[in-house]
Each structure stands twice: as C-alpha cells, then as structure tokens.
C-alpha cells in the first residue's frame, strides 16, 4: 500500500508532492497526460514553444515566488509588459501593485517541470474510479490495475474530482456534503486557437502588445502575443483564448465550425492579416479557469469511515485561484498530511 497517492500532476499536485518530499514523505503522482503541469502547458510547433494554456505566471506569496526563482529556465520578468484592450482580465489581481508577473522563454511549462524534478510521477495513467478498501482508498486505473493508498489526494479540475468522488459519497458521510458543495461550483471551458503568421512585419503589421483583452467582443477574451516571449522564433504566434459562453456553445463541435469565427473576430480586432494565419492549431480546454466567486478558502482533508484520508486540492481551493492558488493549495494540503 502507498502512503500518499496524488492524482493530477498539475501545479497543485506537484507542489503538494514537493512539500511532502521536503518533510521526508514519499508520494506517487499519477497523471493521464504525457507531460506534467496540467493547464500550465507548453507545446512545440516545429521547435518553437507556444504556451497554449496559462499565458503567464503571477503572484505575491513568498513561497510561490521562491519556487519561481528556483526554476532553471530564462525568466521574462514583467511579461506581459505591453497590455492592451479594454476588456476585463480574467485574473484582475495579476495587474495589482506588488504582484510579480513573468513568463519563461522556454515556456510556462518550465515551472511545473521544475517542481516535478526528483518526484515519482507516472504519466499516461488514467484513473477510472475510486473504491474504498479495507484500510485505504483504491485508485482503479484504466488498464484494470489498482493502486491502494492510505492517503489519496485529488488535484484535478473540480468536475473531474467530483466524478471520482461520487461513488464514495453514497457510502461516506464525510464525502457527501463536500461532493454536494463541489457540485454547486463550475470550471469554465476555454476553446483556444494557436495561430502562426509570418515574422515579416510588413505582412502582419507588428502587434505592439504582449497581451490583449478585447472589450465587447463576444469571441475572444484574451489574445496572447506568444512569440514576443521567444528570442529564437520562426513564426509570429498569437494564442486566442475564447470566452466561456462561446466555448461552451462550441465545445463539442468540430473545430472547423468555430475556428473561422475566431479568425474573423481577429481580423476585426487587429487587421486583415490576423484572419489569415499560415497555420492554426485548435485546443479544447474542457476545464480551464475558475472565477474568484468560485474559489474556496482552503483544500479539503477528509477522514473516511475506514480511517483513510482523502485530500482535495487545486486552484479552486485557494482564494483567488490561478496558478499561485493551485500552488498554495498544495502547500496547505501538505501541512495537513504532515499533521
């Protein structure tokens, strides 16, 4: 039996595993995807990094800032320096005085990669269900294998956590109220379009901004000038993050249905060139962000009737949310595990 199993190798799960390791407690981290970091994600398009989830990192908590300082990558302090548009930032806190903002030239994923160093992370492992065992909780994997833990932590978007919790809730008076509370909350979806343009400024009309918040547009809520983070680059890359309503409407549709809508919106915002990228890569974030009204004060640490513990963490479980919130929820959970 494992002492601690953490489901989800996003920033919350990794920060928890790291804090536990610092206290001498080993843990096993499972994640369904190939990489680590969850929504703090970077992909490479012919070698050029593109942040297709979180566009930049921001925070003010000393431990979060220390973790950023420990990243072995090239920080771009202050990014985004040039913020334009009249729209409301999804994380207004990011632009408050005293808040540190940065990106990494190698991509934001440098941060979760740095957190994951030295930890036991098993990737490409999807947990199908949870089941109470005699003195622990079993995570049943998709291939039928089962990992039993004395302490099991869900560091997932809350809908995914809830899906795993629901079978336990019917048996456990400790889980039921928490499942009920989580079912009152939602994570917003976000359709995202990565678009590559020629670097030649005469063809594109050099965008003089790093981040753009469209005001009354109904399609995009944020456009990141991603290539402004890269010193070596082949393309000018813009990343369009769509509004929740738009994303929800087209979530299950073929991307060819909504990509033209994003691009026609782009040409209206930035000029004709923006509507004619050389390449485009759609990405569907079914669970992307929470707003501040959808965050809780702290993570859960619940004791089941058989004495096993279940932790629930993630950005939702820290006031204000975001990557910093996810990180801090991991620290708070670690404190409770160590107790």
């Amino acid at each position: 039996m494992q002492e601690v199993v953490i489901i989800g190798a996003g920033v919350a799960g990794l920060s928890l595993a790291r804090a536990l390791a610092a206290s001498g407690i080993e843990s096993l981290v499972l994640d369904k995807s190939r990489g680590v970091g969850g929504r703090a994600a970077t992909r490479r398009v012919e070698g050029q990094p593109v942040d297709h989830g979180v566009a930049f990192l921001h925070g003010s908590h000393p431990e979060f800032l220390a973790a950023l300082d420990a990243v072995d990558a090239t920080p771009l302090e202050g990014w985004p320096l040039r913020v334009r548009g009249e729209g409301r930032p999804c994380q207004p806190r990011a632009f408050r005085k005293g808040e540190r903002r940065l990106a990494f030239e190698e991509g934001v994923t440098a941060f979760p990669k740095s957190l994951a160093r030295g930890l036991d992370v098993r990737r490409g492992v999807r947990v199908a269900s949870l089941a109470a065992r005699r003195d622990g909780v079993g995570a049943v994997l998709e291939d039928g294998e089962s990992v039993v833990a004395r302490n099991l932590v869900l560091a997932l978007p809350l809908e995914q956590a809830l899906r795993l919790l629901e079978p336990l809730a019917s048996e456990s008076g400790a889980i039921r109220p928490i499942a009920s509370l989580l079912s009152m909350m939602t994570t917003e979806p976000c359709l995202t379009l990565l678009a590559g343009y020629p670097l030649d400024a005469t063809a594109t009309g050099e965008p003089e901004w790093d981040l753009f918040y469209p005001s009354d547009e109904s399609v995009s809520m944020l456009v990141a000038h991603d290539s402004s983070k890269r010193r070596e680059k082949k393309w000018r890359v813009l990343v369009y993050q769509c509004r929740s309503c738009f994303s929800r409407r087209h979530l299950e549709a073929d991307p060819e249905v909504w990509i033209p809508l994003v691009l026609s919106d782009a040409s209206r915002l930035f000029g004709d060139w923006a509507g004619r990228p050389l390449w485009r890569v759609p990405h569907r974030w079914r669970y992307s962000r929470t707003d501040s009204a959808n965050t809780l004060a702290r993570p859960f640490w619940l004791t089941l009737e058989n004495g096993a513990r279940i932790g629930i963490g993630g950005e939702v479980f820290s006031p204000g949310g975001g990557v910093e919130g996810a990180f801090l929820s991991g620290l708070r959970l670690a404190e409770r595990v160590v107790e």
Binding site: S180, M184, A297
Partner: protein, 244 residues
C-alpha cells in the same frame, strides 16, 4: 501638526498616515471621510476608513465625543447583507446590530465598528452556498471552513487600528465572548471591561429560549433552519443566560 480635536482633524492627520500595520496581515487604515448620521437609534457620526489590504470600506459609527475618551462602549459588527439590510431570519445579525445601536444611542458616547466582511469573511456567494448545504442538511465544519468561515484574528487587527485611529484611549467591549477582549488587547487596545451583549427576546429569536442546539452546534429556529454563527459572538437573548 495642529492638535486633533474633532473627527475632521483625523482626516487631515491621516492624509500622511502610514504605519507598519497591525496583526499578521500588517493592516493599516486611514480615516478618510466624516459626516453626520442621524439614525432611528439616535444621532451618530459616520467615519469612513481606507485600508491597505483590500477594497473593503469599513466604517465606524461614533456617538458623542470619543477622541481622547476613556471607557468608550464599543461593539464590533460584521456586515451581513441578508440579515442587516434584508431582515433575514437565518441569522441574528439584525437583532444584534439594532440592539447595539439602541444601547449606544442611549449613551453619551459610544462606538460601533461596522466591518465589511460579509459573513465573517466568507463572502456573500459562499454564504449562500453554506445556506444551500444547510437546506440539504449537509453542512459540516469542514465545508464551512472551506467556504471561508474563519476565526476573527483579522477582524480584530483592523478593529484595533480603527479604534486607535479614532484616538480612543480605552474601551468597554460589548461582547459575549470574553476571549475577544484579549484579542483586542493583543493589538494594543486598552479594554477596561466587558459589557454582555444581551438582546431582548422577540417573535423571531424566541427559539433561543426554548430550543436546543443541534449536533453541529447550530441553533434550530421555528422554521427548522439552522443558524450559522455569523457574528463573532454567541447570541445571548435576555432570559437564556450567558453561555459558558
């Protein structure tokens, strides 16, 4: 700087005020604006504060001349939109607020700090979620803590700074929780004594006299709704005796 005699002088004084802050959050407040506020409970003045930590605009209701005064009867009240303004019966906030203002309105001097931390910091949305869990009979300590119910450390730090900004020398604290005196003292406020905050019984709170607490420690009212403790004080209705 000229001597501070009136509340208006405090506004001028505080234009340049910046201190290291009070409590673990190092909160610092400034007196920003002052005006007359006649109320149905008597004549008060209202003092608006700015603070360096968030956008919450706390206020003090001041009765009589408190600058430099000793033994000022003082009540701390946490904002509760549903109770204070709308008259919700899911809590006792309005009874507690009105009763405090009535008592202060009959005193030559007094102070009510109205702290804009809805539901003791829980926020309005999460308070309504807490009610929703109660409606399903599912509220637990763990759920309420996650929704943001917290101890009152922060409230007391900010309250202490507000009291000292008003140049109040010492207070008599209207509370049913003797530990709260220590919380203020710790932040440098001289608390001379405690005034029990007993509210008169009425048709809405009479259940306190007649029913018991449920398993989770809430009072259940005649409608069958549990009452969350939304003020930092236990409620004491005249006739029920003080809690231990």
């Amino acid at each position: 700087m000229k001597e501070v005699r009136t509340l208006e002088d405090l506004v001028v004084r505080d234009r340049e005020h910046e201190c290291e802050g009070v409590g673990p959050m190092k909160v610092c407040v400034r007196v920003i604006a002052v005006a007359e506020l006649p109320t149905r409970f008597g004549r008060f003045r209202i003092v608006a504060f700015w603070n360096n930590r968030d956008e919450k605009e706390h206020v003090a209701l001041v009765r009589g001349d408190v600058i430099g005064a000793e033994n000022v009867p003082t009540r701390l009240h946490s904002e509760c939109l549903t109770g204070d303004a709308i008259g919700s019966l899911r809590c006792d906030c309005r009874d507690q607020l009105e009763s405090a203002l009535e008592k202060l309105g009959n005193e030559p001097r007094g102070l009510l700090l109205y702290l804009r931390q809805e539901g003791r910091g829980i926020g309005l949305v999460n308070k309504i979620r807490a009610y929703a869990l109660q409606d399903k009979g599912l509220d637990t300590v763990e759920a309420n803590l996650a929704l943001g119910f917290r101890d009152d450390e922060r409230d007391y730090a900010i309250a202490a700074h507000m009291i000292s900004s008003l140049n109040v020398r010492s207070v008599e604290l209207m509370t049913n929780n003797p530990r709260k005196m220590g919380a203020l003292t710790q932040h440098g406020v001289k608390v001379v004594r405690r005034l029990p905050h007993v509210i008169p019984p009425n048709g809405h709170n009479r259940f306190y006299l007649e029913t018991k607490r449920d398993r989770s420690g809430h009072w259940i009212d005649f409608e069958g709704k549990p009452h969350l403790l939304e003020q930092s004080d236990p409620v004491v209705v005249d006739g029920m005796g003080e809690p231990n």
